[in-house]
């Protein structure tokens, strides 16, 4: 058994998920792939199982954060040492998995996060999206005192210590991106950004549409503020 597992949160991804898994297996044939099906109403689970992934099913739609945490809990229980987290919609180029894993495996860092802005030919998100990312980039950079160019990236790799930490109630499962980095930093984990290639979302589906981005930004900002106000003892490991 490999000591690494690739986890893919999926909600209604029946069209693309099979191809994503096959692409991952092409470059990393030895690594186990886990798909967490977040109560999809289509045939995501069948498509993922047919492509050879382990599939976990949520009874109903719980949201992105809860879904990835289910993956962390599974990986921790099964004794995996490393997790790579990748989106199920084909935005993240799987050929960068080894680059993400390398510093974590070497023990240089605990948490590696893929940045589309550090790779020269990643797609550039829309202006409004970039504005949102820029806002969180500044916020996170100021709070943790180090430049993080792509704090909302879901392309990540980390070790068993982080896995264990994230399997507890401390995990900000509402919107685990910028907030998650700050939580990790408070807990003393070493974070590094790795350049990765990201593509535009081929399905055009996005969680950031309509009035949601504004709500998301306000909620995330609030979440970051209370994270900072929380008792530091909570982050002791």
């Amino acid at each position: 058994m490999s000591d690494t597992i690739i986890i893919i949160p999926a909600y209604n991804e029946e069209d693309g998920i099979g191809q994503v898994i096959r692409d991952i297996r092409k470059v990393n044939p030895d690594i186990e792939v886990l798909v967490i099906n977040d109560g999809s109403v289509d045939r995501t689970a069948e498509a993922a199982a047919a492509a050879g992934a382990i599939v976990l099913n949520h009874n109903f739609n719980m949201g992105y954060g809860v879904t990835i945490q289910t993956g962390y809990k599974f990986a921790y229980e099964k004794g995996y040492r490393y997790i790579v987290q990748i989106d199920g919609d084909g935005q993240h180029d799987p050929s960068f998995i080894s680059q993400l894993l390398e510093p974590v495996r070497n023990g240089d860092v605990d948490f590696a996060i893929g940045s589309r802005f550090l790779w020269f030919d990643s797609y550039r998100p829309s202006f409004s999206r970039r504005l949102g990312i820029l806002y969180f980039r500044k916020l996170v950079t100021v709070i943790i005192g180090r430049e993080i160019t792509d704090p909302t990236s879901g392309y990540q790799a980390f070790n068993r210590d982080v896995m264990k930490f994230f399997s507890t109630d401390i995990f900000p499962y509402d919107y685990p991106d910028a907030d998650m980095l700050i939580t990790l930093n408070l807990a003393g984990f070493r974070i590094r950004e790795i350049p990765v290639r990201m593509y535009a979302n081929p399905t055009g589906k996005t969680m950031h549409s309509g009035a949601k981005p504004l709500y998301y930004m306000i909620k995330m900002t609030l979440s970051i503020l209370v994270t900072l106000l929380r008792n530091r003892q909570l982050y002791r490991r």
Partner: protein
């Protein structure tokens, strides 16, 4: 406060008090949630019967009319009730999250040990639009 106002207020408070006790007795309301209701209706009854206390309280908070004090009290009660519910809902969400995750993991183990292929869940009821946040 006119005698009419007094009778009406006492009547309402007594009805709320008895109704709450009855709901708890029938196990349709948990004791945990009944306390706030009982405390509020008791306070109302006491303040109406001991009118001088109500006047003193009115002067203390700087209100003009004693009825204002009673209204303020009811609004405060509603706010507290909402806060109590919000706290409870947050806790319940956490528990549902843990249950769904635990269920996903156990289900995997069960299906593996049963030797079955991945049993796929029946299509779910479409969740409300605001939950489709992936």
């Amino acid at each position: 406060m006119t005698i009419k106002q007094q009778i009406f207020s006492i009547l309402i408070s007594v009805i709320v008090f008895i109704l709450t006790i009855d709901l708890v007795r029938k196990k349709r309301l948990k004791e945990e949630y009944s306390l706030l209701w009982l405390a509020t209706s008791s306070a109302m009854i006491i303040l109406i019967l001991r009118y001088d206390w109500l006047l003193a309280l009115t002067r203390l908070i700087g209100a003009v009319l004693p009825t204002t004090t009673l209204f303020l009290g009811s609004i405060l009660f509603l706010v507290l009730l909402s806060v109590q519910f919000s706290i409870k809902i947050s806790k319940l969400s956490d528990q549902v999250k843990d249950l769904v995750q635990e269920n996903a993991l156990l289900r995997y183990e069960f299906e593996k040990s049963a030797g079955a292929k991945t049993v796929v869940p029946a299509p779910r009821i479409q969740p409300p639009a605001d939950m489709n946040n992936q």
